[in-house]
Symmetry: C2
Amino acid sequence: MITSKTNPRIKFIKELRKKKARDETGLFYVEGIRPVGAAFEAGWVFEEILVAPGLLRSDFALGIIDKAGKSKITITEISNDAFLSISEKEGPQGISAVVHQKISSLDILTNNGGVWVGLESIQDPGNLGTIMRTADSSGVKGLILLDNCTDPFGMEAVRASMGAVFSIGIVLATFEKFRSWQEKSSFQLIGSSDKAISNYRKIDYPTNFILLMGSEQKGLSEPFINLCTNMVSIPMVGKSDSLNLAVATGIILYEILNQHSFRNGKG
Amino acid sequence: MITSKTNPRIKFIKELRKKKARDETGLFYVEGIRPVGAAFEAGWVFEEILVAPGLLRSDFALGIIDKAGKSKITITEISNDAFLSISEKEGPQGISAVVHQKISSLDILTNNGGVWVGLESIQDPGNLGTIMRTADSSGVKGLILLDNCTDPFGMEAVRASMGAVFSIGIVLATFEKFRSWQEKSSFQLIGSSDKAISNYRKIDYPTNFILLMGSEQKGLSEPFINLCTNMVSIPMVGKSDSLNLAVATGIILYEILNQHSFRNGKG
């Protein structure tokens, strides 16, 4: 059992708070019973699972650890103090893991079809995680993070996703790469902008397409708008001139889900 | 001009970060050109406006200060350093204000009618601010904060509201007070719960009613559910078992706005 807060493994895990360390190793840190369980159930590759037996009180979690051990995943026991020194949660549950990042190429869209969300230069990790969670809930296949987005494997994004980071696809692409792929693909692009004339509820969303959302500060940029076959806006009746990005994305995604369910006779 | 970071006024403003100081004084702190402008335009009562001339670069803001001065609002000039010591923003714009809180009683619903959102024990100030912003955008008259909610006049809630805190009504009430008011009122209650059978898009929302949303962790409690004439849920098709509270509220509010716009011939 690791008991020292200065143990090299503990130090390494703390390093994973930094994007540089995550980029260099291709790993990330995830904490809590449900997220670790979601990663395991979804078949993600684990570097190790950390367990503080003194804190862990859940039979469900003990079941995961048992199954993980049988799958030859390294289980490292650590002391409560050492666990608390790496914990990012209030009320730590005594289980966390170091997991290998899974980033897909744009081919995953071609192979899978469906609805995807493209996010241009989204900056807020809480928004990104919340959008992952909504995407999963509304049947979206995954996110395409375009240009300079906040890291989907950063702790705040992972935490806000409530495990959804493990159940949707994550694609990273630059504008150029995205454009050249899209030219050859059958995926339509529909963008969202405060200034668009079409009400988001008045257009038909295709079965396979990408919903493009801009950054919190600047919205969708001209080059991306120019790729879109349609631009939609959400009506605003008060004094505010925009919605929170995660809220706006959720509102449009649920309109899409509703249209698609209706089309499939489930509406 | 105040130049010292230890000036009593500066210290007093820093104290307003604490709920205790806000409760005792009935004041709160708001920062940035747009929020201060929104408070002024909406006719809120100012204690003072703080200006760091060395940081302020906006003609719009100078216009507000000019109008505020004519309205006999105290304008205090402070040094850049003193301003930075109280600033809560990245990229401070050199304007902030101490404003009197405005809390309404439940009578405001009776007098105004319309759609209101009741939040039971919401904990996250970012969620609360985001819900204010969405409420304003979707034509909601205001929020009723039920039982122990996070402070709507805390800095994070105010900031996340993007000025909407000044354009919607804020009511605080305990369950008992709310229940006894509601028994005598004509307002229907419609609640939201993951477990409800009615799809949120399949019911008709009245012109005057309260949408009740539960806390992030626990959802709506039984006593509140028992007051509702209808409970609705948002369908979930992925592995996640709930949506972020602000996203869920936004999705339902935009369904309500859509129904009401359609009914008024604007759909």
